[in-house]
Symmetry: C2
């Protein structure tokens, strides 16, 4: 399997794993963004992922390309945060390589990143001078000589994906380690997601619903793991309230990508008997 | 979207559409073959699909490559029948081009096809001198000078996918037309599947369960369409009895591929906004 295929599989395995409380998964769509949109993005992103894995283009430009390719459908933004992690990981090959890749980013990467932002209208904090809605943001980046890593430093307090760039991808590392500990396949993905949710404040939830709700989600994920709350009930409650731990999902995708490269099995060996009959077609 | 991306999307859209009676879909796995296996195959087949769309290699060799790439997981055969249709369609660009491509196949294509067979152990009819389990099958092909189209002619009575090659892809054409008539997205895929099931005997069901069961499935699909049976009950009954209309699914994939190239929308416009152009026949 090539690194690009690993990245595509990671995107596919994350979105199909179920139940992932609050998120689009095999058993749940949002009204405007459905399972098919996420899976189409995993297919359509390939040329940008290939460029990320090669040496064509700066990280900012490749990110913009990935966003452009995956916003051709009506599902809106599906993987912006995931691409922010996958692109340097593909460029660097592994986490130490990704750390080097993000250190080498330039002002031009920062500008391209902002252009990518404008394709998806991802929300920044109001009043931020680097807000994508501010027509002067590009000038501000140029004036300050901010690199893309500099942008991420600026955002690290309120964005756990940006924090990965600045702090050496610790949650990505942790997600990969959790996958290997919780086991193969779908079950490992779901448990890893819950573990991450139970220890980290999801900054996407903070942006959408505030810190109190994000803290509640973290606490309840811990209670599910401790057997004090049912996973299905937690999932249903998140969905009913529109609570979507989107940044944790992004980190999970990066973790799956790393874990696949380290021998984690997405495809569990079968229990017991050999397959009954090989079927053709679906 | 490139033709290869269309083929990959077709594979993704077919397997996620639900409910498709008896088949792996968004809401149902087989014990050994799960949704993720089908989706992984859609990702992993790409290099072979690229070769099919280019001019590298004969159809038989490309088919073997597609099967090899998609049997690296533990799910077994997921798309052999679909590849038999997609590879000439990609080579020829459309149905008339595919007809030309299959006419140009050689004895070497036939031999490669048999080597592909041995990778998936797809069942042939017992006692057939061209049975893949017969070690003399390759010699028989050489002695008779059978091309790959000749093999399909040999199989047309008991395999509706082979019949597509010989008769000019009429069911693929019909599936594409049905998609445009039944409408965009998931609902169109499900309805098209039911329409095909209600008029065609699925030859994979015949091989697995005999003609009586295949006839029953066809009749009941018609009753679902006529509102005389519930789709969910029909689906549950097929699943409980292990009845898997796999060849109809293969043809559906080919039909989606063609329809996507003709403007059928996999991604429905949101309700309340502009209506689909399908309703105006545009």
């Amino acid at each position: 399997m090539t690194p690009v295929e690993r990245a595509q599989l990671a995107m596919m395995l994350e979105v199909t794993a179920s139940p992932k409380p609050g998120n689009v998964d095999r058993c749940h769509d949002y009204e405007g963004t459905r399972l098919e949109h996420f899976l189409a993005s995993a297919i359509l992103a390939r040329p940008a992922l290939e460029r990320a894995a090669g040496c064509g283009g700066g990280l900012g430009e490749v990110l913009r390309e990935a966003v452009r390719l995956t916003t051709t459908h009506r599902g809106g933004n599906t993987h912006f945060g995931a691409f922010i992690l996958l692109v340097p990981l593909l460029r660097g090959g592994d986490i130490p390589g990704a750390v080097e890749a993000v250190r080498a980013t330039t002002v031009e990467d920062a500008l391209e990143f902002y252009r990518a932002f404008s394709l998806v209208k991802v929300r920044m904090l109001p009043g931020d001078p680097l807000d994508v809605a501010d027509p002067r943001a590009l000038d501000t980046i140029r004036e300050r000589g901010l690199t893309l890593l500099g942008i991420m430093e600026h955002s690290l307090e309120h964005d756990m994906v940006a924090r990965e760039w600045v702090t050496g991808f610790p949650l990505t590392r942790r997600a990969a380690d959790l996958l290997r500990r919780t086991g193969c396949g779908r079950q490992g993905v779901v448990e890893t997601f819950l573990h991450l949710l139970s220890t980290e404040i999801d900054t996407f939830i903070v942006k959408e619903h505030g810190k109190a709700v994000a803290g509640e989600v973290r606490r309840r994920a811990g209670e599910v793991l401790a057997g004090k709350e049912e996973l299905a009930a937690f999932d249903a409650n998140c969905i009913a309230r529109g609570i979507n731990p989107g940044s944790t999902a992004d980190i999970l995708i990066a973790g799956i990508y790393i874990a696949l490269g380290e021998g984690w099995e997405w495809d569990c060996p079968e229990k017991g008997k050999t397959r009954s009959s090989l079927s053709t077609g679906a």
